[in-house]
Subunit: 240 residues, 2 copies
DNA sequence: CCGAAACTTTGATCTGGATCAAATCGCGAT
DNA sequence: ATCGCGATTTGATCCAGATCAAAGTTTCGG
């Protein structure tokens, strides 16, 4: 999409970061009120439509952001077009790679989303001045590392059915619950994106979804809306 | 192997950490000389044989270590025995997961190795007192995260031949060079371990190796010793 | 030096998931 | 409502890599 334009977030309302603090676990939770105020003065709240790029692979980005609503996917694409989603980020995750200018992956809104954008320079300075913040970002990095490694196991050693079940479980676990039991949720990804996350093709994803449906593990209310009557049954399909 | 015993490193020579400082990029480079001395007093240098476990998956470990020689593999195994190597660590990498007691993966020496072991409590304290050190470990975590995501692309979207070429390239790039051109190296992994890293079977790994040999990209001097006449040719096999 | 066990290669066959092809379904625009 | 187009499902066939089987080869203890 409009990569160039989205590199510099020109549209957005200046906000006191304080106003979205509750959602900003990773960054704002670690800041003093003075720092919060300063960060707030230089932050923009911005809406991004599903599909639009936040950071382009191989580009230099001069800002970081916090997700305040929606889901962001991290992708790597090969020169020949093959593509792999290497991570999903949910509110209130932090997006951006501290200390490095060039990104080896792209970040793209999977759903309509809202992010709070702030300048790289400022945050880099705050990181070096605030061990709390460093620690907080270190924690997020370690959490992402665990997730990435868990997914390596899925990619390398699980069958197509196990892969699809793993993804549904991941979403069910991270999506904001719509029903009390959190067993009903909207998929933030299309079939093609699911395929790119699982290292499969669209057709295989579709077939495995109907397989899970026919075996009673899930109900597909709608292409994007899934109900899991019994979460244990879904877990059993993952095996490990 | 002897998991229980290896959990507490009882064998080893106490060393001043200073003595291996040159190799301890990640941890020791960020410490003051006083801290170095203290860490040294509580460190053990320890030799570990190829195949022996350093940290067991699901266990609580009370120590961290630095690799001073050799290669360590990080594995995840499923209840049914399927196994995935999720990372390779080379000297002078740091091994251990700060801030968390239980490990979700096992660390095992892939080759005969030497590590410098120190107590978790002490290092955790030093981390919280030393922003430099926090930063250094944060950097390593981000480096590992990049590597994990790069490998996700390999696992999800590359063919068997590309996978094997990727692994050879990784080793060639990280192994201490034996020839000046660094195009000859020992494999730190058996065929079975390579298969577990690439999400393939032993047979497929073997076949792809002979395919690369027959196409002139590599020479197999010995099962464990590889020569790459032209590194560019190897890179071409990776595609991306 | 010999022999057994473990590791690696090679061959034959099978199969899960890819690819190719064709309906359906959904949904925004007219 | 109806059209049209992209997304999804379903079906038929193919093939890369798995599995099964059998030779080599390396390693190492005696």
């Amino acid at each position: 999409m409009d990569v160039a334009r989205s590199q510099v977030p020109e549209a957005g309302t200046p906000v006191a970061c304080r106003s979205c603090q509750a959602q900003h676990g990773v960054v704002c939770g670690a800041l003093s009120s003075g720092q919060l105020r300063e960060l707030g003065r230089h932050s923009l709240r911005r809406k991004v439509d599903a599909g639009s790029e936040i950071i382009a692979q191989g580009s230099e980005s001069s800002f970081y952001s916090n997700i305040t609503r929606g889901v962001v996917k991290l992708c790597k694409v090969m020169p020949d077009g093959r593509q792999q989603i290497v991570g999903l980020q949910f509110a209130p995750d932090f997006v951006g790679r501290p200390f490095v200018r060039e990104s080896t992956l792209s970040a793209e809104a999977a759903t309509d989303a809202e992010i709070c954008v702030f300048p790289r320079n400022l945050l880099d300075r705050m990181i070096s001045e605030t061990p709390e913040l460093q620690r907080s970002l270190h924690d997020q990095a370690l959490k992402e590392l665990d997730a990435a490694r868990e997914w390596m196991l899925t990619l390398g050693r699980r069958t197509a059915e196990e892969k699809v079940a793993s993804l549904l479980y991941l979403i069910a676990t991270h999506a904001e619950p719509q029903s009390a039991a959190s067993t009903a949720f909207d998929l933030p990804l299309s079939r093609a994106e699911i395929a790119d996350f699982l290292g499969l093709t669209i057709e295989t994803v579709s077939r495995q979804m109907t397989r899970l449906r026919k075996s009673g593990v899930i109900r597909i209310e709608n292409v994007r809306h899934i109900v899991v009557p019994d979460m244990d049954e879904l877990e059993k399909k993952i095996s490990g």
